[in-house]
């Protein structure tokens, strides 16, 4: 063979380095996402090597099937499992890592010796003749010729694998379905047991100037119905559930209304109304306190 630097050789050296780098990156990255990206890179490199080896069909399949489909599946799974988790690289099984490296090195050595001993090298026959009628056609002739039944079997395999995935990922219902009857019964049972309100949750409060789920409803005594808003909003501090906060808005509205009325009709009731509101608030607070004490 004439020692000429061919396109094939160039492609090999470039993509071989990329592939090994991708592989090493895949096993060293702490974040699975990075690993997946490295693997994808390695696969693309391999695809290019395939192309250089006169295997255009596999070049395409490699990219579509592996890089496209398989790696996508990996990424999807990763999203569910947790994209941003970071693996600890500390080995927990005693002596495992050293043994792994030694044995894997031995394995690699054996493989290389095997390759060298097998000495496939020398003149490669090349695929010009086999690809004469087109690579895809050649493969098709084999797949749909002598390998027809295995091929059909793989199609069955894929079908079954799909069904298996559905069956596996479809969570089995562990408890019986909760229907309307069950829910009503549960509410009544809770009422019987703890005195919890069997009725529906109260709707959030609404004001003319504001229509919002972060405004709790007020009970007739002016106190807040805590169950009328989402606990999430409460936790985030968005909703206002304290009595004082609500009452101040309420009071402000009433005060403005009374002042406007006084101004228009020339009366002076603002002071009286303010005192009355204080009394009411006081009474409501007292009642809340006693109720609270009673509950304790």
């Amino acid at each position: 063979m004439i020692p000429l630097i061919t396109g094939q050789a160039v492609a090999f050296w470039i993509f071989a380095v990329l592939a090994v780098a991708g592989a090493l990156g895949m096993i060293t990255c702490r974040k699975p996402v990075h690993s997946a990206l490295c693997l994808a890179g390695m696969m693309v490199s391999l695809a290019c090597i395939y192309a250089a080896l006169d295997a255009p069909f596999l070049f395409v399949s490699q990219i579509i099937v592996y890089t496209g489909a398989v790696m996508m599946l990996f990424l999807f799974t990763m999203m569910i499992v947790g994209v941003d988790t970071t693996d600890s690289m500390i080995e927990t099984i005693k002596g495992h890592r050293v043994a792994s490296f030694l044995i894997a090195a031995g394995f690699g050595v054996m493989l290389v010796i095997g390759v060298v001993q097998g000495a496939v090298g020398g003149a490669a026959a090349g695929l010009e003749q086999a690809n004469g009628a087109g690579n895809v056609q050649g493969i098709a002739r084999i797949v749909f010729g002598p390998f027809l039944y295995p091929f059909l079997a793989t199609s069955a395999l894929i079908m079954i694998a799909t069904m298996a995935a559905i069956v596996l990922s479809h969570g089995e219902r562990l408890t019986p379905k909760q229907g309307q009857i069950e829910r009503a019964r549960a509410r009544n049972e809770a009422f019987m047991a703890t005195g919890a309100d069997p009725g529906p949750m109260p709707a959030p409060g609404t004001y003319a100037r504001k229509n919002s789920i972060d405004q709790p409803a007020l009970l007739p005594d002016g106190s807040v119905a805590a169950s009328s808003i989402s606990p999430t909003l409460n936790v985030r501090g968005v909703a206002v559930v304290s009595n004082d906060g609500l009452r101040s808005a309420h009071r402000a509205a009433i005060t403005r209304f009374v002042e406007d009325r006084d101004a228009i009709i020339g009366t002076n009731t603002a002071q009286a109304v303010a005192e009355e509101l204080d009394d009411l608030a006081q009474a409501a607070d007292d009642q809340l306190t006693t109720t609270g004490e009673g509950e304790q």
């Binding site: 099984i93 495992h96 044995i103 031995g106 394995f107 054996m110 493989l111 010796i113 095997g114 001993q117």
Partner: protein
């Protein structure tokens, strides 16, 4: 030895009534089947059908006998083809019958005495709830016994042989709720089976040598066989005869067999089955004539047993056991005669026939006494029964006179001939046979004195009475037989039996008595006198505890049971437990330790299963590396 001219009679094909000889066996078998299968429904008429089984056979036997008398002598032996039993390879056995002078005599004895005993049993077993079953077993016995004597080959004979053993077992342990009866039955069966080994081995040898066990074919072929094997066959047959006929050393079962109902003792253990051994030896005379060693062995066994039986009979207090000892002894005489050869064969059968009558007579008499004494058998509790049971006494006395050999009663003729023949064979045998006769006279006199004569020694509340007519009738018939058969048969028997048992130059006359006969008679009278003098004295109600060694040994069945217990029961038991131990500890122990070892190893290897799939992967890769290394290094090397 007499000059021997072996003449073997070839049986002729059956014609006329002989073709139906198989009915002799089939009829009682049918009766048995009916009685056993019909169940309780046949309780009311079962015993009558049972008696019909024997009587019907007797009638048929008599018809056959008359037919035979009317036939010319060379054609008297008749072969009755029935069916092929089995043919496998070189072994072929036909179930054919041979009706000749010998077998017809046996058939007459078995069915005739049998009929009488059956009738007697109606009375004897009247109160037993299982009387129907009893008669079924008796019929089974008749069928088996007739198979035994009518068979024309050893294999069919063996079937009958075992059949009578089974019937004997069933009847001895008929009252099996009594442990002693169950044990006695089992013992009888097992000891008989030891004897059967002999017959089996004899048959194996015959098959190997001649390819047949047919009497006729064996007789024809025997002279061409190697002498060693002829002697071996003779010894094998002797072992079989010893087992069935309770000869030393297989005698121990007969005394225990008295646990059975008395009619059984009379029929099976006195008149018929126990004499099958004699029949076997006489039937095989062609073999014994060719082997001095085996026939000598037969004679020795006979003499030893006749003395041993007499010894036992002189010491026992149990009336049935005295009679059983006597039976042993008398069969010893027959064996002795059978061993002598053609000179004695006919006499053996003669004595067998007369013995069948007088011994059955005495057993039934003993049964009658037991019936009267509330099933007590201890003679020390009897005495003076002569007055209350005149018929029983009279018939018993007839048997007594017959057995001790008072002329002109049956025993005199039959025993006398044996003594004479034994003397001519060898004076030692003659002298011993005479001494046996004297002892017989002694113990029979003892029995008579203790039972019928002397003082009353009855236990309280016992009121003896004469037995009913159905029981007395057979006694009378048997007594007449005991009295006259000797005279009647004396001249005829040798001629009649000559074809099947071999010719003998003697000519007999009932009035001719040689000097040995007179000497024997003298010894007998001496024995009677001693017996009378000794037992005229008062007899204790309870047996004395301390007795002299001779009596002790006799009372304990010649220590045979102790010997058997020590050697076979203990020894065999030890062997069996040893094997059981080996089975448990070594054979199963090996299995168990293998299981335990596997479990232990599993427990250790289990630890490698850490559950970490990465460790498993590591092991897998290691395995791959090793395999690859082996392959690569293999290629390098």
């Amino acid at each position: 030895m007499y000059p021997m001219e072996m003449e073997i009679v070839d049986p002729v094909a059956a014609t006329g009534i002989f073709q139906f000889a198989w009915a002799l066996i089939a009829w009682p078998l049918l009766v048995t089947a009916i009685l056993l299968l019909a169940g309780k429904a046949s309780n009311s008429w079962g015993h009558l059908l049972g008696v019909a089984g024997a009587v019907g056979d007797f009638v048929l036997a008599v018809v056959l006998w008359i037919q035979m008398i009317g036939t010319e002598v060379p054609n008297r032996a008749v072969k009755v083809p029935v069916t092929e039993w089995m043919t496998i390879g070189t072994m072929s056995v036909r179930a054919d019958l041979l009706v000749d002078q010998l077998s017809i005599l046996f058939a007459l004895l078995v069915t005739g005495v049998g009929s009488l005993i059956f009738c007697y049993s109606i009375g004897y077993m009247a109160h037993d709830p299982n009387r129907r079953r009893f008669f079924a077993y008796l019929n089974l016995f008749i069928a088996a016994m007739l198979t035994l004597v009518l068979a024309d080959n050893y294999a069919l004979l063996f079937i009958g042989w075992e059949g009578v053993g089974l019937a004997s077992y069933l009847l001895i342990s008929f009252w099996q709720h009594r442990n002693s009866a169950a044990l006695a039955g089992k013992k009888a069966f097992l000891v008989n089976r030891v004897g059967d080994l002999g017959l089996l081995c004899a048959m194996f040898t015959m098959f190997a040598l001649f390819g047949s066990v047919n009497f006729n074919q064996v007789n024809h072929a025997i002279s061409g066989a190697p002498a060693t094997w002829i002697t071996a066959i003779g010894i094998f047959l002797l072992v079989a005869a010893c087992g069935k006929s309770a000869q030393v050393p297989l005698q121990s079962w007969l005394l225990d067999a008295m646990e059975g109902p008395t009619p059984v003792s009379a029929l099976i253990h006195a008149a018929t089955m126990v004499t099958a051994g004699v029949y076997l030896v006489v039937r095989s005379h062609a073999i014994y004539e060719l082997t001095n060693a085996a026939s000598l062995a037969v004679m020795v066994v006979g003499v030893v047993t006749l003395l041993a039986g007499a010894w036992v009979g002189s010491t026992k207090d149990d009336i049935k056991k005295v009679l059983a000892g006597s039976t042993m002894s008398q069969i010893g005489y027959m064996m002795l005669a059978a061993g002598i050869g053609p000179a004695g064969g006919a006499f053996a059968i003669f004595h067998l026939f007369t013995h069948g009558f007088f011994k059955a007579n005495m057993f039934l008499g003993a049964g009658s006494v037991m019936h009267a004494m509330d099933d007590d058998t201890d003679m020390r509790h009897f005495g003076a029964l002569r007055k209350v049971m005149p018929w029983t006494f009279g018939t018993f006395a007839m048997g007594y006179l017959a057995i001790i050999g008072i002329p002109p009663l049956a025993g005199f003729y039959s025993k006398d001939h044996i003594v004479v023949a034994a003397w001519e064979r060898g004076p030692v045998f003659g002298v011993l046979a005479m001494i046996g006769a004297a002892i017989t006279a002694f113990y029979m006199t003892r029995l008579m004195m203790m039972t019928f004569l002397g003082d009353k020694r009855w236990a309280e509340g016992i009121h003896p009475h004469e037995s009913p007519a159905i029981m007395v009738g057979p006694l009378v018939v048997l007594a007449i037989g005991s009295a006259v058969l000797g005279v009647v048969l004396n001249n005829a028997i040798q001629v009649w039996l000559a074809p099947p048992t071999g010719h003998h130059p003697h000519e007999l006359a009932w009035y001719h008595v040689p000097w040995q006969g007179w000497a024997t008679l003298l010894l007998v009278i001496l024995g009677v006198a001693v017996g009378y003098l000794v037992y005229r004295r008062p007899i204790a109600f309870d047996a004395p505890g301390k007795v002299n060694p001779l009596v002790y040994i006799g009372r304990n069945d010649l220590l045979a049971d102790k010997f058997n217990h020590l050697v076979f029961v203990r020894g065999g038991g030890a062997l069996a437990s040893g094997i059981a131990l080996v089975d448990d500890v070594i054979v199963d122990g090996a299995v168990r330790s293998l299981a335990g070892g596997t479990k232990g190893l599993g427990g250790v290897l289990r630890r490698t299963q850490t559950g970490y799939s990465r460790s498993y992967g590591l092991t897998m890769v290691l395995g791959a590396v090793i395999i690859a290394a082996v392959l690569i290094l293999g290629r390098l090397g």
